[in-house]
Symmetry: C2
Subunit: 333 residues, 2 copies
């Protein structure tokens, strides 16, 4: 049976990378063959040292993909090393050149051609030649605010407008998320960080682009709005103390218009003490559709699941740079 397993390596061993390869190690159909991280402190270690999973003692850490690839076969790399399409594509190129497929958590790779059209085209050509598949996915972007509403329209006779919303109660989430949403910062500071591209939810315009692609809407205008959520009272979490009037989260929206017609509006709130966390979509059309995920889908925890679950589906798809709508229906594997 061993030789039928899918050989998987992990690129990037931050918190998400560690969770990702730990989940992969649990799957009977996966053989974990190694890890790659540029951090010199990790060199020479094993994935067992880094993850605490005993059975990964034979899976070594490598400084580069090339070093790992020279040691033996790899089928799929799980890539969790940043949010930027251009940087990620540069990292993925050598993998694709060797015919190794990649599932990435890079938010901008949900629709690679949106930010990096030339690199995406180049990568696609490499994949088609080598047989590799490259997919960007996750929970958001990658599922709750894009794939799920798209999937609902499979029963639509007509679709006029799609509204998607997500409310995350950040108080129940890990420290990095509470930090990312600016807990305890002054609102002006948070606005400045967003304007500089250093804060806010990444990949939101990519979710919009994926919906537009699936619906066949050629947006003539898209835009993104950002506001800090202001703490209405003093707030305390396990990790932060936030004073009334400070930032306790983010409210981010994107809109897609075709001519004078608004087609998509997406609304994301992630803040401390948020009431009634949920994911939802309202599809105006025939029939009207209103879907709601009570409690919402927890991001980080489920993101690694969406990466690992996508592996069998990309391997069944045609080689190339893939979108979530190019591969089979999501499913637990």
């Amino acid at each position: 049976m061993q030789q039928n397993k899918i050989k998987v390596a992990q690129f990037g061993l931050g918190p998400i990378g560690i969770e990702s390869i730990k989940l992969a190690a649990d799957k009977e159909w996966i053989e974990v063959v190694g890890g790659i991280d540029i951090d010199p402190a990790k060199a020479g270690k094993t994935l067992s040292d880094i993850t605490g999973v005993g059975k990964l003692a034979a899976a070594r850490m490598y400084k580069s993909f090339e070093e790992l690839a020279e040691k033996g076969k790899v089928d799929v790399v799980l890539h969790t090393a940043g949010s930027k399409a251009d940087v990620s594509i540069q990292q993925i190129m050598p993998m694709a050149q060797r015919g190794v497929s990649v599932v990435s958590s890079c938010e901008e790779l949900l629709v690679p051609k949106f930010r990096a059209p030339k690199l995406a085209e180049e990568l696609d050509a490499i994949c088609r030649k080598s047989g590799a598949r490259v997919l960007g996915t996750g929970v958001n972007p990658g599922f709750v605010m894009d794939v799920l509403p798209i999937c609902m329209t499979g029963v639509s006779r007509t679709v006029e407008h799609i509204y998607v919303e997500r409310v995350v109660n950040a108080s129940t989430r890990r420290m990095p998320l509470q930090k990312k949403i600016g807990s305890g910062l002054e609102p002006e500071e948070m606005r400045r960080l967003f304007a500089e591209g250093k804060a806010g939810h990444a990949g939101f315009l990519e979710s919009l682009a994926l919906i537009g692609h699936a619906m066949g809407w050629q947006f003539t205008e898209t835009y993104e709005l950002f506001e800090p959520v202001i703490a209405p009272y003093d707030l305390t979490t396990k990790f932060f103390n936030v004073k009334k009037g400070q930032c306790c989260g983010i409210h981010q929206q994107v809109v897609g218009n075709v001519g004078s017609v608004q087609r998509v509006h997406m609304d994301l709130k992630m803040y401390l003490d948020a009431r009634d966390p949920h994911d939802g979509a309202t599809i105006t059309g025939d029939p009207p559709l209103e879907i709601r995920v009570n409690g919402g889908v927890a991001g980080d925890h489920a993101t690694v699941a969406s990466l690992v679950n996508a592996i069998p589906r990309i391997l069944k798809a045609q080689p190339g740079v893939l979108l979530m709508t190019d591969i089979g229906v999501p499913a637990w594997k």
Copy 2:
């Protein structure tokens, strides 16, 4: 552009068939090339005569698929001519032999091998040779109680159990549905009709089989339960008068066990005056997931949409007898 359109014919011109080809006629990417129905009263007519859609005046009615196929090219047949897998496969065989793909509303074709393993295998072999694709789909079975919960598990680390429910308020639905659920029959009569396979929701065990297939659960036991819903007071609809104590709908359930562990429970209620109609699923696992479609997805009306929307997706898939989980994410086209 005309030559790039997908050439579609309609097999079966009952109410669903008429709605189906009318919707297809609305699509810019479809060219409707004809209709097939064994009813001699329809012979020699055009689809315009039958549907009232003026632009279908050139699309003739034929008595058989062969007769239509000899007149010109067909890419896809929309098949809406019954619920039984064996009968439907016999009708589809000649289409597949000519390399013509089929999207069918036949409930048992959601998982053809469940009721007709040998015929399904034979059809699959024909498809692989000829390049045809055959898919059974719809709203239920085909989406709300199977594909939608499966899709949710794309973000699951683990799945322990899937509960799916659907409540349809039949008072708001068409006459055939109100009749199908036994409105006004004596409860005993309805039980007898179900036992004889003449009443009840078709394709429920197929939905269960699709979920089992997607989750990798080899059910050791599956069963179906049926009870009429008894009118708690006198009920009047546009089409029926139902006395207190008579049947006003159906309550149908299926269960799938693996050994001593229950993995799936599905609960369907379709009755007059049902409160809070909705579709929902509760997925026990990590993370727990609870999804709800408020108001539910209207069956007949959306079923024809699911057939037409599936056309581009089957043509991108590998030839063969396909499951909904073998093709791309559902989407409006």
